[in-house]
Each structure stands twice: as C-alpha cells, then as structure tokens.
Symmetry: C2
Subunit: 384 residues, 2 copies
C-alpha cells in the first residue's frame, strides 16, 4: 500500500526517523549511566514500546491505568504509573499486579500515603510506591528539602504492605526554556533535587533504590546524571514542532505527521482548506509562545500530488485556523504567495504537529511508512 | 451504579438537561417552520441521534465519513456530510449509498464539481450534492452573489449522475458575537445569503429543494427563517461554557461534564491537582477571548465527597493549567481562598467543558446520569 491509498486525515509514522530517535536516546541513557524507562504516554503503542526498550531493562512508564493494562496484556511487567494515584484506583492497581507485574504508583500526599497503607492492610494487597518530588515544575510533588517528604516516606516505610521504592521527578519546566544552556540548568536542578530527596530517605535509614528523572529536553541535554538511576522521556520518540522550537530536536527528527487532503481554494483570502482540523491536529498551541508560531501545525516540505508524485518545494505553510474538521492553510508571514496551482483540490499535505502527544491521541493507529510505502499499521490505546 | 462508582476521568451526560435541550431546539425549528437536521459532530451517538430527531423528519448531519457509516449502520438513511468532499472520498461515499441511504455531499469548488461529475460518469454511481455558501464565516463556501456559484451549479446540474440538491451555509462567525443582537444580525445574514443563492439557482432553471443553514447561536436566536428549509445546529444538545459565554445557553443548560478525582493539594500555591488534564478536557481555549475566561474548564457547583454525598457550595473554581493527565484547579480571580478541607484527595469534581465537541472526542462513551445514578452507558464513534 502507498501513502496515496490512505483515507485522510491519517497519522503517519516514519519508521526511519522513529528508529533514529530511539537509538539516540538509548545511547544517551547508556552514556549517562542510567536506565531508560521510556514514557509511553506519547506513543501508547506496544510495537513502539518493544523497540524503545531494546537494549534497556524493559521497564516503561505510563500515564493512565488503561495504558498499564494494555502494556501488561502485551507482556510488559515493569511499569511505573507516573501520575499521582488516588485511593479509589488501588483496587484496579492491585488487580493489574495480580499476575506478577510490578506496577509502581506515585504520590506526593500524606493522606494518600495513609490511604495506600490502609488499603494494603485491609485487602492484603502489596504496593510499590514512589514519592513525587517537585524540582521546579510546580505541578505536583513535594520539595526535596521539605518536611512533607519525610512525613510521606515514614508513612510508606512503616506500612507492612508497601514497598517504598524511591523518588521520582519530572522537570516539565524544561518546556519553558529557550536555550540549551537554560535546559542544562533545569536538568541539573532536576538531578540535584531528586538525589537530595533520595539522600534524605537513605539518611533516615530507608532504602531508595529508584531515583527517577525525566523530560525529553532534559534527557537530551543533561551533562551529568550522577546519583540518578533512570530517566523517563517520552515525546523524543516522535518529536514535534514545539520540541524543535526549544532545540530539543530538529524539524528533520519529527517522526509523525498528519496526512491531509486539500478540499478547497480561497485565493481571495490566500487560503486553502484541508480536511484536518481541530480534532485531527489537536487544539494545542504550544508554539504560540515560542520563536516560531506555526498556528496549529507546520506543513512539511514533502507534499504529494494527485498522481502520488512528490511536489516541488513549497513556501513555508502553516495551519492558521481550525474548526472541528477544517484546517485553513496559509503561507508563513513573509513567505510570499500561496502556490494554488501546485496544490489542487485532492492533493495531499503532511502537517507536523505542535505537540505530538496531543495530536496522536485522536487516532487509533499509526500508518508506518518508509518513503511512500505504508509498511505496517500499529494500533494504539486511548482513553481511560 | 452510582456516579461515585465510576473510574475517573469519565464523561457524564445529564439526561434531564439533554432532553430539555433537544426539546427546546426541536420546538424552535417547528416554530420557525423549518426542519431540524441535527449535526451529530458533537455527540457522535446513535442513542442521542434517535432522541434528537424525534418529531422531526429523521435527517441528520455528520462531519466525517466514519460518522456516516456508523449512523447508516444504526438505521439512519438521510445524512448530509457537511464538510467539503474530495474526489478521493467518492468511492467510499458511493459504497455507503449502496444500500439506499441518501448520503449528500458538499463542495464549493468547480474542479471538485467536475471531479464528482466525472466519477459518476465513469462508475455509474449517483451523487446528491449541495453547494456550500459563504455567508460571512470565511472558512469555506462561495459568495451567494458570485459567478463561482453559478459555475459550480452548472457543472453539477448538467452532470448525468448528479442530483444538485441545493445550497448549504454555516454561520460559524456567530461564535464571534458578544450579544444577542449581534447573533440575530448574523442569523439574518446567514438566512438571506442562503436564500439569495437558492433564488439565483432557481432563476437559472435549476431545482433547489434544500436551503440549509445552521449554527447553534443562530438557531437559538434567529427571528425569521423565511426561504430556509432546514437548520443544522449541533452543540446545543450538550452546550458548553463557551456557548454560555455568548448567551447561546446558560450554565444550567450544560449537559456534559468531566468527572475528575482530586489527586493532590498544594496549599503553598493555592492549587489542587485533579486527574483530568489536556486529554480529558481538551486544549480548547475558546473562553480565553470572551468575558469569562475559565481556563480549561469551569468546576461545576456540584462536587461529591468521598462518601458520595454532595459537598457544600464551593467558590468559583477554574482549571487554570493542564498537562496531559494533570489538571491544576484554583479559585477564579477574586473568588477567595481554595477550600482545601472541603476537597480532600479522593473527592470528586465535575468540570464543565469550554467546548463540548472537543472534550467529548476523547471518550468512547457517555455515562448517562440522573441525579447520582448512572442509568445508561452510550457509545460514541471517534476518528476517521
């Protein structure tokens, strides 16, 4: 099957770029002396998880219990659920662990920690738990030097049914960086905060085998991860225009794109319409705050005509507006006139997403491509 | 089953509000002397489509061919696919029409019109086609007084395998209105433009049985639809905070909400964390430009404690930041301190969405509720 045979909108995954992204990050982890526990929240695909864990210890990270169940069903047995747990979800966690999978949960709250201990005592279930540390992102987590850290640790350490596994942090504020030097500063704060938290637990006599950090920008640029045991980047597998805007990748490293068809011409406004809108691209506007605002997506250089042949190079095109199933494409500021003749109705464009995690979530599968061949279709798991 | 038994995040649909919204719009269509062809792009549910077409002629509108296939499989036979068609999709359209469904397509482009005519001639298939009219939205469509309208009409009218059914317009710019008077002005422009286009076709000797208009705001406030045959609102079935912000509904008319669980407390920042983030709520920020910016969602008055009992009234709470699976909730500006004690970890909140169409698309089903009882689970169709 060729790309030109696909109905649109469709999500394309370039196998060569995926493989290169996976190999680069695996080599970085090895070079830094830490394990790679890839975060599957972006790709949500067992096919990709198998590739991403090659040469690593097989552990992965997930963002929902539905992902956890899917990956356990696909043979993965060492999974960290890296979103704060609530006590109401512990029955489901216990059920998922019943066949031997080590599904580790996370909290930053003493009341939740007491709830985990009580649940384990009441049901006889066992739980592996990490404490979430805030190393500057200010989303979740306790400060590494806080009293709260020790309070939570003591509750978990003293609970008969709980294995306190260690600490975990996510330097999500690396997304606010605008230079490699800034990312490196955040990466060091992420490392130092996680290690400080671990050292405090150990000084109090608790084991802390896991010191987990991770975001794609800090994973790409960290210079030293002394004291860290693993990192958990995720979006690096696909990359996106936002990651390129903060230099965490280049545009040529973006492995996913949305294939769209031109449905109309509006020369009076310098616009063409495509059949990929707010649902197919997502409403993520993360590039709005960066140096290169591409609207809802950047049209990739490679466009394909009605006959499947590659079109001549186009000026820079952005998806400037979306409604649910419509995208409006126009040239970037200063990029000149839109070449209507080169993009007749029925021709196709690829749109690189602002934020791959959000865009991919609208699709139930990847069309894996090499050149203009569709070489595989890989399912993904969505929802909760 | 009770709401408190549901895993979160989950999409709740209040049956009483849905029924009232459907009855109100059906009565409006009847009062205005037009048929109601509800747009199923918001709800994507056959259960809801059956309710929404009660007392009407049974016709519906869809935004994707996957929706069309789903609704045909569920017994609907009169369907308008209200997004510009591309020639590459005509084989699929023809296949969907094979068992007798009237699936009507749309174009605003002479080249596409020629493609439809050529496809019909080459394959022996027949197509019902509407011409899309731009009555001020400037997304798609030809101007009602344009030469292009007559060019496209002549191509379709002269094609042996094509039934030119009429004209269709969508006043999407009603979403930019900030008063009822503005919406009424847009509604009249929508009506007048569609009727002018129809009259030009008829003056040229072509039949034009369908004169189709529709957006929820204009459907709610149009004073007169003389010359129009049908309207196609969609989001009115659910409503959302954006529609309330332009007075197309009240907050009490919003029938869908996202049920979320409190996962953490951050009193040092005046924030609580919930397990509904950018995927569960969508990244739609349509309320950002209106009079009441609620971030990524407005926490509904009704919150439920650990024991399932309703909590005392809360100050106005917004979801002020999201990442993929995290939502950060804080009080609205001027609304005072966040009542942490009233919302312990594990308690639940309902979040009203900015834009129901985008939020609902992340879920594969609705949990239909009456009071705190879950009375049904209705599936929905997603993707392409």
């Amino acid at each position: 099957m060729k790309i030109s045979d696909l109905a649109t909108p469709a999500l394309l995954l370039e196998r060569g770029r995926l493989d290169a992204n996976l190999a680069n990050m695996s080599a970085r982890a090895t070079g830094l002396g830490v394990a790679l526990r890839p975060h599957m929240k972006t790709t949500k695909s067992a096919d990709i998880a198998r590739l991403a864990t090659a040469g690593q210890n097989g552990g992965i990270t997930v963002s929902t219990l539905k992902e956890a169940a899917y990956f356990i069903a696909n043979g993965f047995t060492d999974i960290t659920y890296a979103v704060g747990i609530s006590v109401g979800k512990l029955d489901q966690v216990a059920a998922l662990r019943q066949d031997g999978a080590r599904l580790t949960v996370l909290t930053d709250n003493a009341e939740v920690a007491r709830g985990i201990a009580a649940h384990a005592e009441a049901t006889g279930a066992r739980f592996d738990v990490l404490i979430e540390i805030d190393t500057g992102d200010h989303r979740a987590g306790v400060a590494p030097d806080s009293r709260a850290l020790m309070d939570i640790a003591e509750i978990l350490d003293q609970a008969a049914g709980v294995d306190l596994r260690g600490v975990l942090t996510h330097a999500g504020h690396s997304y606010d960086c605008r230079s490699v030097a800034e990312i490196q500063t955040v990466a060091e704060a992420e490392r130092a905060g996680a290690v400080l938290a671990a050292e405090r637990l150990r000084a109090a006599g608790m084991a802390c085998p896991v010191v987990s950090v991770g975001s794609t920008p800090t994973a790409v640029y960290a210079r030293d991860l002394s004291g860290v045991t693993e990192m958990r980047p995720g979006v690096y597998m696909f990359n996106d225009v936002f990651q390129a805007s903060i230099a965490a990748c280049t545009l040529a490293d973006i492995a996913v794109s949305v294939l769209a068809t031109v449905t109309g011409h509006h020369p009076e406004r310098g616009e063409i319409l495509i059949d990929a809108g707010g649902l197919a691209l997502s409403k993520d506007r993360s590039t709005a705050v960066g140096p290169r605002d591409v609207g809802y997506g950047l049209v990739a250089g490679l466009a394909v005509g009605l006959d499947g042949a590659e079109l001549p190079e186009l000026p820079e095109l952005h998806v400037v507006r979306v409604s649910q199933e419509h995208g409006v494409v126009a040239t970037a500021p200063g990029a000149g006139a839109l070449p209507f003749a080169a993009l007749p109705p029925g021709s196709r464009l690829r749109v690189l997403p602002n934020h791959a995690c959000m865009t991919a979530a609208a699709y139930d599968c990847y069309h894996v491509v090499e050149g203009d061949e569709v070489i595989a279709t890989w399912p993904r798991v969505n929802g909760w």
